[in-house]
C-alpha cells in the first residue's frame, strides 16, 4: 500500500456544513423582505440610503483591514449586515452623508478597534445610530414621511406619547408598513417573515425575540393606557417603533448577546423592560436601541450569572 501522507488531527473528524458566512447569508436573506418593503413604501430614496450605507460599511471594513494588513474578510457577510441594519434605522429623508459616517463609526470604532468580528461588546449598527443621534439630532429625528405620498409626518410612537398630534394608523397599515418610521422598521409583515425564517432555520433562538416582544406587550398593556391598569394599546406598541426589527435582528446579534439559554431569557426581558420604560416614561418616544445597547453591555455579567448547572451537579458552581 502506498505510504502517502495521512492527516492526523484530534477528533471529531466530522463537521457540520454550517459556516459563519452561511449564517450571515441567512440573516441577509431574512432582511431582504423588509428591504424590499422599504423600497416599495419609501421609493428610490430608500434604495439610495441602503446602497450608500451598505457600500460604505464594506469599504470601511476593507479599508481598515488593508491598513492594518489583516486578511480582508468582507465576504463573511458581517459588515454587510451591519450596513443594512444601520440603513434600516435611518429616517427616509436623512442626508446621505449621515449614514456614511455612521457606517465608518460602526465598522471601525465599534467593531474593528475592539478586535474585529466576534470581539465588539456593542451592536455596531445600534452604537452607530446612538452616535449619529447624539451628533446630528436634527438629521436623525426629523425627515419622517408617510409612505407613498412623501408628506412629512410624526411617527406613531410620537403620537402615542402625545408629542405630536396625528391620526394613529389602522392595524392593517401597521402590518404592511403604511406609517412613518425608520426605513426598515415599518413593515411588520416583512420583518416577521424574516424573523420566522431565522427561527425556522435555527439561526436564532426564540428566547430573545420572544421575551423581548412579550415583555414590551405585557408592560405597555398594563401601564400604557390612560384608563387605568391593562388598558394600553398593545398592538400599537408591538407593531410600531423598531421593536420587531430590534427583537428579531439586533438583540439576537450573537456577539453581543448571552451564550447561555437562561441568559437569553434575561436579555429578552431586560430589553423589553427598558424599552417599555423609555416609551412610557422616558424622554424619547422610542427605546428599543438604547435597551439593546444597555443589555449588550450587561451581557458578560448575565453570562456569568446564568451559567447552566453542569450535568450531574446539584448546584450551579459560580465561575
Amino acid at each position: 500500500m502506498a505510504d502517502h501522507k495521512l492527516v492526523v488531527s484530534s477528533s471529531p473528524h466530522l463537521r457540520t456544513k454550517e459556516t459563519t458566512p452561511r449564517l450571515m447569508g441567512a440573516v441577509l436573506l431574512a432582511l431582504l423582505p423588509a428591504a424590499l418593503a422599504s423600497i416599495v413604501l419609501f421609493g428610490p430614496r430608500a434604495l439610495a440610503v441602503m446602497a450608500v450605507t451598505l457600500a460604505s460599511a464594506l469599504v470601511a471594513e476593507g479599508l481598515y483591514m488593508k491598513i492594518v494588513r489583516k486578511p480582508v474578510t468582507i465576504a463573511d457577510g458581517s459588515a454587510a449586515i451591519t450596513g443594512l441594519l444601520l440603513a434600516f434605522n435611518m429616517p427616509p429623508m436623512v442626508p446621505l452623508w449621515v449614514p456614511v459616517i455612521g457606517s465608518f463609526f460602526a465598522i471601525i470604532v465599534v467593531k474593528q478597534l475592539f478586535g474585529g468580528l466576534g470581539q465588539n461588546f456593542m451592536n455596531p449598527a445600534l452604537a452607530a445610530r446612538a452616535f449619529l443621534l447624539a451628533a446630528w439630532p436634527m438629521s436623525m429625528t426629523t425627515g419622517w414621511v408617510v409612505p407613498f405620498d412623501g408628506v412629512t409626518s410624526a411617527t406613531p410612537l410620537q403620537v402615542l406619547r402625545g408629542m405630536a398630534s396625528a391620526r394613529l394608523p389602522e392595524t392593517w397599515e401597521l402590518l404592511v408598513g403604511m406609517r412613518a418610521g425608520a426605513l426598515g422598521e415599518t413593515s411588520a409583515v416583512a420583518l416577521l417573515l424574516g424573523g420566522f425564517y431565522l427561527l425556522w432555520k435555527g439561526v436564532i433562538d426564540w428566547r430573545i425575540p420572544g421575551c423581548f416582544i412579550g415583555t414590551v406587550a405585557l408592560v405597555t398593556w398594563a401601564f400604557g393606557g390612560s384608563g387605568g391598569l391593562f388598558t394600553g394599546n398593545v398592538l400599537a406598541h408591538t407593531l410600531t417603533g423598531g421593536l420587531l426589527l430590534g427583537a428579531f435582528f439586533m438583540a439576537t446579534d450573537y456577539v453581543t448577546s448571552p451564550v447561555t439559554r437562561r441568559g437569553r431569557v434575561v436579555m429578552g426581558i431586560g430589553c423589553g423592560l427598558i424599552t417599555a420604560l423609555i416609551r412610557l416614561w422616558g424622554g424619547f418616544p422610542e427605546g428599543v436601541s438604547y435597551s439593546i445597547l444597555l443589555m449588550n453591555v450587561a451581557t458578560p455579567l448575565i453570562d456569568r450569572a446564568t451559567l447552566p448547572r453542569v450535568f450531574g451537579q446539584r448546584r450551579v458552581k459560580a465561575a
Binding site: 500500500m1 505510504d3 502517502h4 495521512l6 492527516v7 492526523v8 488531527s9 484530534s10 477528533s11 471529531p12 473528524h13 466530522l14 463537521r15 457540520t16 454550517e18 459556516t19 459563519t20 452561511r22 449564517l23 474578510t73 463573511d76 458581517s78 474585529g116 468580528l117 466576534g118 470581539q119 433562538d205 450573537y254 456577539v255 448577546s257 448571552p258 451564550v259 447561555t260 439559554r261 453570562d303 451559567l307 447552566p308 448547572r309 453542569v310 450535568f311 450531574g312 451537579q313 458552581k317 465561575a319
Partner: protein, 446 residues
C-alpha cells in the same frame, strides 16, 4: 409519548448505509498479528512468552497482578517472532507488543475448555472467568469488564444497562451483532447481570436500527426483568452517562462520579456477546467485529477479525482504497483516533476502521468565534465550551477549571456544530489533561 433521550447532543449524518446491510463475515486468517500488552484502560500487562516460543489460539501471553487490567491472549497459533514496542492505534506511540507469525493451523490451546452451565456458576466464578478471558469494554473505551461488574458493597446496583446505541456515524458492528446474534447477546447479558448481581436489565438501542430492536425484543421474550428500549437517535446517546439519563432519568455525578453512584452498570452489546463465547466455548477474547468503512474503501464490510490483525490487511480484504485516503481513523468519526499509518493492529477497543477522502480530512482554518452559542446549546454535559476553550487557548488552565473543563466527555459535539470550525473540544481536552495532572500533583504533595 416523548422519545427517551438526554439534553443537548447533535444529529450528524449517519453514513451507516455503507455497511448496515452487510452480514458479518470472517476476515481472512492473518499471517501476522501484533498484540499490544496494553489494550485496555488501566495497567499494562507483562509478557508471558518470549521470542521464539510456540503459542496456540487462546493461550494467555500477557497479564499483570494489577486490579484495573485484563490479560491478552494469542489470537492465532504459531511462533512469537518479536516482543518489542510497536505502534499503538489508541495511544499513538509505540508500546510493548507480542508479534506472532501464524502457522495457519489454528491450533487451540489446552486451557480453552467449555465452561459449566451459567446456572451452576456463582457470581465470583463468573467474575474470575471474565477476568481470565481478558474481557474489556468492546464499545471503544476498553475498560476491564471484570472491574465494571465488581461494584463495591457500599454501592448497591439496581439496574443493568446494555449499550447497543452505536451512536457514532459509519459504525455498524454492534448493529449487525444485534441483528445476527441476539440470543447470544442476551445469554452474555444474563451472565454479566448474575456476576454483579442485579435483576433488572435494559437493552438500549437508537431508533435508527429498527431491525436490531426487533431482533433483541424477540430474544428477550419470556425473560423476566429484561426490556428493550428504543432511544432517540442523537449523538452521543451511547455515552453511558447520557444513556442512563435517557432510560432512567438519573444523572451520574461529575467525575469521579461513576454509573455505580446511581446504582447502574453499563456494558456494551459486543462485550456481552464475547462473554457468551467465553462461557459456551471457553475461548477467551481473541476476536471481535470491526466495521471497515468510509467513502474511499472499495467494498465496506463488517468483519469478524482476529485481534492483532493489521489495519492494512483488512483494508486490502475490503478491496483496498478506491481513491487516495486523507485520513485513517480507528473508531467512529466523532471520537475515533486518527492514524498516521495503516500498519497498526486491531485491538479490543477497535470498533471500526474508517478511511475518509482527502477533501474530508481537513476542515480548513478556524475563523473568529462569533459567540453563536451553538456549542453551549449542544453540550450534553451542560458546560460552556465557548468560554472553556477560550481560556484553554490562552493556557489559562485554572480558569478553564472554574468552568468545569474536567467534566468534559470529549464527545466532540461542540466542535462538530461550530460554524467557525474552531478547535473547541481539542483545546478543552488539553485543558482537561492539564487540570487532571495538576490535581494529581496536588494530591501527591499532600
Amino acid at each position: 409519548m416523548r422519545r427517551k433521550t438526554f439534553g443537548g447532543g447533535v444529529h450528524p449524518p449517519h453514513h451507516k448505509k455503507l455497511t448496515e446491510e452487510q452480514a458479518i463475515r470472517d476476515a481472512r486468517e492473518p499471517k501476522l498479528v501484533v498484540i499490544p500488552l496494553s489494550q485496555h484502560l488501566g495497567a499494562p500487562g507483562n509478557p508471558l512468552v518470549q521470542k521464539g516460543d510456540q503459542v496456540a489460539v487462546g493461550q494467555k501471553i500477557g497479564d499483570t497482578d494489577a486490579y484495573v487490567a485484563a490479560p491478552v491472549h494469542a489470537s492465532v497459533s504459531g511462533k512469537v517472532v518479536a516482543v518489542e514496542p510497536r505502534m499503538h492505534p489508541a495511544l499513538g506511540r509505540p508500546e510493548l507488543a507480542i508479534v506472532i507469525e501464524s502457522d495457519g493451523e489454528g491450533r487451540v490451546h489446552e486451557s480453552v475448555q467449555p465452561k459449566p452451565s451459567v446456572d451452576d456458576l456463582d457470581a465470583d466464578t463468573i467474575r474470575s472467568l471474565i477476568r481470565e478471558a481478558g474481557l474489556a469494554g468492546l464499545g471503544g473505551a476498553a475498560f476491564p469488564t471484570a472491574v465494571k461488574v465488581s461494584p463495591p458493597r457500599s454501592k448497591p446496583i439496581d439496574t443493568f444497562v446494555l449499550n447497543g446505541a452505536e451512536c457514532e456515524p459509519f459504525l455498524t458492528a454492534d448493529h449487525r451483532l444485534m441483528v445476527e446474534e441476539a440470543p447470544d447477546i442476551v445469554f452474555g447479558m444474563k451472565a454479566l447481570m448474575k456476576a454483579i448481581p442485579v435483576s433488572r436489565g435494559f437493552i438500549c438501542i437508537e431508533d435508527n436500527k429498527p431491525d436490531a430492536v426487533r431482533a433483541m425484543k424477540e430474544a428477550v421474550r419470556g425473560e423476566p426483568g429484561l426490556e428493550v428500549v428504543a432511544l432517540e437517535t442523537r449523538y452521543p446517546q451511547g455515552s453511558e452517562k447520557q444513556m442512563i439519563k435517557s432510560v432512567l432519568g438519573r444523572e451520574v455525578p461529575p467525575p469521579p462520579g461513576l454509573p455505580l453512584d446511581v446504582g447502574v452498570v453499563v456494558n456494551n452489546v459486543g462485550t456481552a456477546h464475547a462473554l457468551a463465547t467465553v462461557l459456551k466455548t471457553g475461548m477467551p477474547l481473541v476476536d471481535r467485529v470491526v466495521t471497515v468503512t468510509g467513502p474511499v474503501i472499495t467494498a465496506p464490510a463488517n468483519l469478524r477479525v482476529k485481534l492483532g490483525t493489521l489495519f492494512s490487511d483488512l483494508i486490502e480484504q475490503c478491496g483496498g482504497y478506491s481513491a487516495l485516503p486523507g485520513k485513517l481513523i480507528m473508531g467512529g468519526p466523532m471520537m475515533g483516533v486518527a492514524q498516521h499509518t495503516a500498519e497498526v493492529p486491531v485491538i479490543k477497543g477497535t470498533s471500526g476502521i474508517l478511511a475518509l477522502a482527502e477533501n474530508q480530512a481537513w476542515d480548513g482554518d478556524p475563523t473568529p468565534c462569533i459567540k453563536c452559542a451553538r456549542c453551549v446549546d449542544v453540550c450534553p454535559m451542560q458546560l460552556v465550551p465557548v468560554f472553556m476553550s477560550a481560556y484553554a487557548e490562552r493556557g489559562q488552565w485554572d480558569m478553564a477549571d472554574r468552568y468545569n473543563a474536567a467534566d468534559c466527555l470529549e464527545c466532540g459535539c461542540c466542535s462538530y456544530i461550530c460554524p467557525a470550525k474552531r478547535p473547541l473540544v481539542q483545546t478543552i481536552r488539553l485543558a482537561k489533561h492539564e487540570i487532571l495532572a495538576a490535581r494529581r500533583q496536588r494530591a501527591q504533595a499532600r
